[in-house]
C-alpha cells in the first residue's frame, strides 16, 4: 500500500481500476478513449509489485464513472481487475469486474475481422459480440456470425 501512495495520491472522486495484468493499462486507456487531450487527472502505475499477481498495473481516473460497456471492455483485457468507486475520498463501492458481468454480450473494443461484415462499412452501428469462451478467448460477431480466436483478438488489443 505504501508503494501505491508514493506513486499517486488519493483521488477525491472517480474510479480506481486495480489488478490489471502488467502492461495492459495503456490498452485500457485506449479502450476508455482517454488520450493526451483528456481534461481530468489520470494516474497510471505500471509494473507495480503485487502479492497475488507478481506485477500488475493500476489506473486511477478522477471524475470518471465506467459504463457497463466499458466494464465489459476492461474485463476482456483484464479479467481479474478490481474496481473501486471513490466518492469524497472514500471507497463507496469495490467489486471484481468478473462478478459484475451478467450477459456475455459486449460492444466496442473489437473490430470484426470479417472484411465483408456490414459493421466494417459506413454504417451507424457499433460492432457487437457474444463472448463464447473466456480462455482461450472465443468471440462471435452478432451481425455476421464470424468467430474470432484469441490470437486474432489479442492483435487488436
Amino acid at each position: 500500500m505504501t508503494d501505491k501512495k508514493m506513486l499517486v495520491s488519493k483521488i477525491d472522486n472517480g474510479t480506481v481500476i486495480d489488478k490489471i495484468g502488467a502492461g495492459m493499462s495503456l490498452t485500457i486507456l485506449r479502450v476508455l478513449n482517454i488520450r493526451e487531450d483528456y481534461s481530468d487527472t489520470v494516474a497510471v502505475a505500471i509494473m507495480v509489485s503485487s502479492e497475488s499477481m507478481g506485477k500488475k498495473d493500476i489506473v486511477k481516473l478522477t471524475h470518471r464513472d465506467l459504463s457497463e460497456d466499458e466494464l465489459k471492455a476492461i474485463w476482456l483485457i483484464a479479467p481479474d481487475a478490481v474496481v473501486s468507486v471513490i466518492d469524497n475520498y472514500k471507497v463507496s463501492e469495490k467489486f471484481k469486474i468478473a462478478g459484475k458481468i451478467t450477459s456475455n454480450q459486449f460492444s466496442g473494443v473489437l473490430k470484426c475481422e470479417n472484411p465483408s461484415c456490414a459493421t466494417n462499412f459506413n454504417e451507424p452501428v457499433k460492432p457487437r459480440y457474444t463472448l463464447m469462451r473466456r480462455d482461450p478467448m472465443l468471440v462471435r460477431c452478432l451481425y455476421c456470425d464470424r468467430v474470432m480466436l484469441e490470437e486474432n483478438i489479442k492483435e487488436q488489443l
Binding site: S116, A118, E123, Y143
Partner: protein, 305 residues
C-alpha cells in the same frame, strides 16, 4: 410463439413459427383466391444491393398475388447505393414508402443492420454468404409437401456447403426438428463452415461424407447446390472435383423409390437435363413453391405488425 418482427435469420424464428409458415403456405396454395386481397393497400419495397432476378420476382409475384403493390430497385448502378449510401439510410428511406421490405445484400450482417433501422418488417432475400432464410423455408415447404412430415427424413446436402448462403439456413431449420438426419457432401475446400457446424452440434444428427454413392440409397432428399469455379484456388482442382458433384441418371440408379432431387436454381450443369424427366426431379416445383411460401411469410409478418 415468439414475435415475428423481421426475418433475417432462421435463428430468429422457432419451430412453431416455421410450421405456421408452412401451414399458411399450404392454405394459400390450396385456395389462393381467399388470400387475393390480404395485402390491399400495402406496399412491398424490394431492395436488392446485389442482383437476383429469381428471388426478387418471386417476392414481387407473392405480393401482387396477395393484392399488394411493389416498388423497389434492383440495379445498384442506377440508384444511390453504389455511391456509398449506407444500409441504414437506405432502409430509413424505404420504410417511409412501404409496409414491408425485402432486402438482399452482399455483406454479411447487413440483414441485422437493416432490421435495427427499419420501422417496418425486414425480410432477408440473402445476406452475403451468411444466410438465405426464405429459400430455406420454401425448401422445407417442398419437402413437407412431398413427405407430409419433416421428422424422420434423411437429407443429403451436396455441393458448395461453405459459401452457399442457403446451407446455414437449412441446417438451422433442420436442427429445430427432433429427428432429421443430414449427410453433407462437398469438395474439401467447400465444406460447411465451422461456425455453422458448431451451431448445430448436438442439435442435429449430421455427418460429413466423402462419397455420395455410399449413402445415396438412404436419402429421402438430395439437395444439390452450385459448385462455382471461382471458389477454387486453381482451375485444375476445380476440374478434378467437379465431376463428383454432377447428378446424372446414373447417379440416381440406386435410390429410394420416393426420393426427390432439389436445387435452388439457377443450375449451371450440376444436374444434367436428362434428370429433368425423371420422377425424382423436384426443382421446378420447388421454385413454384417459393411463391406460396413467400406469400405466407408476407401474410404472417404483416398480420403481426
Amino acid at each position: 410463439m415468439q414475435n415475428f418482427n423481421h426475418l433475417v435469420s432462421i435463428k430468429d424464428i422457432d419451430k412453431e413459427m416455421i410450421e405456421s409458415i408452412l401451414k399458411r403456405a399450404k392454405e394459400i396454395e390450396n385456395n389462393p383466391k381467399e388470400f387475393a386481397h390480404r395485402m390491399d393497400g400495402k406496399i412491398l419495397s424490394t431492395i436488392f444491393f446485389e442482383p437476383s432476378t429469381r428471388t426478387r420476382l418471386s417476392f414481387e409475384s407473392a405480393m401482387l398475388r396477395l393484392g399488394g403493390k411493389v416498388l423497389g430497385f434492383s440495379d445498384p448502378k442506377t440508384s444511390s447505393v453504389k455511391k456509398g449510401e449506407s444500409i441504414a439510410d437506405t432502409i430509413r428511406m424505404a420504410h417511409s414508402y412501404s409496409d414491408v421490405i425485402v432486402m438482399r445484400h452482399y455483406l454479411e450482417g447487413s440483414g441485422r443492420v437493416a432490421s435495427e433501422y427499419s420501422k417496418v418488417p425486414v425480410i432477408s432475400g440473402g445476406t452475403g454468404i451468411q444466410e438465405h432464410p426464405t429459400q430455406a423455408l420454401l425448401d422445407l415447404y417442398t419437402m413437407k409437401k412431398e413427405f407430409g412430415d419433416l421428422n424422420g427424413l434423411t437429407i443429403g446436402l451436396l455441393g458448395d456447403l461453405r459459401y452457399g448462403r442457403t446451407i446455414p439456413s437449412l441446417l438451422y431449420a433442420f436442427a429445430k426438428y427432433e429427428n432429421i438426419k443430414v449427410y453433407l457432401y462437398s469438395p474439401d475446400q467447400l465444406r460447411a463452415r465451422m461456425t455453422v457446424l458448431s451451431d448445430i452440434e448436438g442439435k442435429l444428427d449430421y455427418s460429413v461424407e466423402e462419397d455420395l454413392q455410399q449413402t445415396i440409397g438412404e436419402l429421402d432428399v438430395l439437395y444439390v447446390t452450385r459448385v462455382q469455379k471461382e471458389r477454387f484456388p486453381d482451375l485444375s482442382t476445380y476440374e478434378r472435383v467437379k465431376g463428383s458433384f454432377i447428378i446424372t441418371p446414373d447417379t440416381l440408379s440406386d435410390v429410394k423409390e420416393k426420393m426427390i432431387v432439389m436445387h435452388p436454381l439457377p443450375r449451371v450443369g450440376e444436374i444434367s437435363y436428362e434428370v429433368d424427366e425423371m420422377s425424382q426431379a423436384r426443382y421446378f416445383e420447388q421454385a413454384r413453391n417459393g411463391v406460396w411460401t413467400r406469400m405466407a411469410i408476407l401474410d404472417l409478418i404483416l398480420e403481426e405488425n
